[in-house]
């Protein structure tokens, strides 16, 4: 039995493959309307006001009992900072990227770090670190394949993912987009680590077999994710890799990137996934919608199912739905705590 840990110690131990006092409970995006209201947040200000952002995200830790504090709210910061159109959504809908570049040459990232939204993330990391030193501060960032997809348009990414395997000319195009995405990723990652991040949480949503060829992921996606991961490790920070959809066919590739933890969603058979990857911890994989309309029984069952399947951390599939209720979030945390008491 390991003596009681802080949330931060717990998460870092899990990432290191060390024993924990109980399994950590973590999440991706945390733009929860109930917490926005309770903490006095205003839309769209909480996307650009670091204090408001941290107050909302912090309640996931202080009220619900989640071990991480996650900022920013959504996967648009990189794109907006590059000058792409972003629709800000609503208090209950995350912002979305609405335009893309025609040519890689159009992307200008010279002043990336000066952008208001990038600055908001960095300030929010510092502030969260000050306010919640006992929590794991985990910025939510867009991983290279998905960022390349934002740059060239997701539809183009999907088509190019098959064409580039067939023709060298198309591969050269793909590599050009990816190398730009990677440069931007590195600039942002370094700044987040310097701001005090305990880990970086990367979503490579568009590297999913739902959108690109699994072959493409292995040949092209894995090497760029690994390059980013190695860069992050050199700066002394761990990182988590999330990919959407049923990732069983690509999970070996995900593990080979060197990520310290893999995050999977509910479409994945946890037992199969943990059997394939072996030593790399996997986090997952409750159906996010349960936090909006799940019964206590459903929440407890799915939490236990993931952990029984070998998950080393309990996590909602693809992030916390904005309409999640605090009582359901607490039911989930409690279920993970109880499972730990029985099984660790």
């Amino acid at each position: 039995m390991v003596s009681e840990m802080t949330s931060r110690e717990r998460v870092l131990a899990m990432l290191n493959g060390k024993p924990v006092d109980r399994v950590p409970v973590v999440t991706g995006s945390t733009m929860v309307v109930e917490y926005i209201k309770k903490s006095g947040g205003k839309w769209p200000d909480f996307h650009s006001n670091p204090e408001m952002m941290v107050n909302v995200a912090g309640m996931m830790h202080t009220d619900a009992g989640i071990d991480s504090v996650v900022v920013p709210f959504g996967m648009f910061v990189e794109s907006i900072a590059l000058g792409l159109d972003v629709k800000m959504g609503r208090v209950d809908i995350q912002p979305s990227v609405r335009s893309f570049f025609k040519k890689p040459e159009e992307v200008n990232y010279a002043n990336f770090l000066e952008n208001t939204y990038v600055q908001t993330t960095l300030e929010a990391i510092k502030l969260a670190k000050e306010k919640y030193p006992e929590a794991a501060i985990a910025p939510f960032l867009v991983a290279p394949v998905t960022l390349a997809g934002d740059l060239m348009g997701a539809e183009n990414l999907s088509m190019l993912s098959i064409k580039c395997l067939q023709k060298e000319k198309q591969m050269a195009k793909m590599e050009k987009w990816l190398s730009i995405a990677l440069e931007i990723n590195k600039i942002y990652a370094k700044a987040c680590i310097e701001a005090g991040a305990d880990l970086l949480y990367y979503s490579d949503a568009s590297a999913s077999p739902n959108l690109v060829m699994p072959d493409f992921y292995y040949k092209v996606g894995v090497p760029v994710e690994k390059e980013l991961g190695d860069f992050i490790h050199e700066l002394g920070c761990p990182w988590v890799l999330h990919i959407c959809g049923d990732t069983v066919p690509i999970i070996e590739g995900m593990a080979s990137t060197g990520a310290d933890c893999l995050s999977v969603e509910q479409a994945v058979d946890m037992k199969k996934a943990t059997e394939i990857v072996g030593a790399v911890p996997i986090a997952g994989n409750l159906t996010p919608l349960l936090m909006v309309e799940g019964t206590e029984e459903q929440i407890v069952n799915e939490t236990r199912k993931g952990l029984n399947g070998g998950a080393k951390a309990s996590m909602l599939g693809c992030g916390t739905p904005p309409l999640s209720t605090s009582d359901r979030l607490k039911t989930w945390v409690k279920a993970a705590v109880e499972w730990s008491a029985e099984n660790l």
């Binding site: 539809e155 999907s158 088509m159 098959i162």
Partner: protein, 265 residues
């Protein structure tokens, strides 16, 4: 039509024509078409088969090239579309449904089909069968910009002879209803990929009901977070699991209800 049963000489000409199409060499395409016609083979059968295979493999340039051949040898443009280009889209759609193909393959097939269709479209104005095709109003619901899946549903519906009125993404509920009225739609197809916007779907269904149109219109809903249970709960007719399923379901359902059968040839 089996290619490997064709004489060696014919197969070689077909291969050369593929290459000419790939390199967009207009003159070579014409010349090779003439040469093929001279051999006396069933050129219509060959062309239709090639069209479907090129679309299935997502070969844009080749689909365009063989569509030119189809026009040159005088194949009925509707036949070239339905038995050629669209048939190829169905082939890849079936594979996808069985888990033997992936989304990018559907996407490149779809763009190959549309490239060919564009060449045919000036000749497609008057529907040769006389009957108007059934119209489907299609879109992604308000608050949601994901439209790749919606576009695939549209492609497969078009490939199956439906006329699609595409409202795009982030579509307000009343626009679905207005369009259904304006175009006398046979069906409405709604997509969403986000749990937060699922509640837009029952809104549209209720509006169809209160305007008295619901009985005459099939409602399909789809997108990753939807289940058949949810579809039933909100009063939709169905939620097939993917784009290929949507087209198959609508085709079958409409051919089962006698009043619509004639519209589906």
């Amino acid at each position: 039509m089996e290619f490997d049963e064709l004489p060696e000489e014919v197969r070689e000409l077909i291969e050369q024509l593929d290459e000419a199409a790939e390199d967009e060499e207009e003159e070579a395409i014409e010349e090779l078409t003439e040469k093929l016609l001279d051999t006396g083979v069933d050129m219509e059968a060959i062309t239709l088969k090639k069209l479907s295979l090129c679309v299935m493999d997502g070969e844009e340039e080749m689909s365009v090239g063989w569509t030119k051949v189809a026009l040159k040898i005088g194949i009925d443009p509707f036949k070239a579309l339905l038995k050629g280009l669209a048939a190829g889209m169905s082939l890849i759609g079936d594979k996808y449904e069985k888990g033997e193909a992936f989304v990018p393959q559907l996407m490149i097939a779809s763009s190959a089909m549309y490239e060919g269709m564009e060449l045919l479209s000036p000749y497609l104005k008057a529907n040769s069968s006389g009957a108007d095709p059934s119209t489907v109003v299609i879109g992604t619901v308000e608050g949601d910009v994901h439209d790749i899946g919606k576009n695939l549903v549209k492609t497969l519906l078009s490939a199956n002879g439906f006329n699609c009125v595409d409202l795009g993404n982030d579509v307000e509920a009343d626009r679905f209803v207005e369009a259904a009225k304006e175009y006398q739609a046979t069906a409405v197809s709604m997509s969403t990929l986000m749990t937060t916007t699922m509640a837009e779907m029952p809104k549209v269904i209720n509006m169809l009901e209160s305007s008295g149109m619901r009985d005459k219109i099939k409602v399909m809903v789809g997108g990753a977070p939807l289940s058949t249970d949810y579809a039933a709960k909100i009063g939709a007719d169905v939620s097939p699991k993917d784009a290929a399923g949507a087209a198959n379901w609508l085709k079958t359902t409409l051919s089962e209800s006698p009043s619509d059968t004639e519209n589906l040839n």
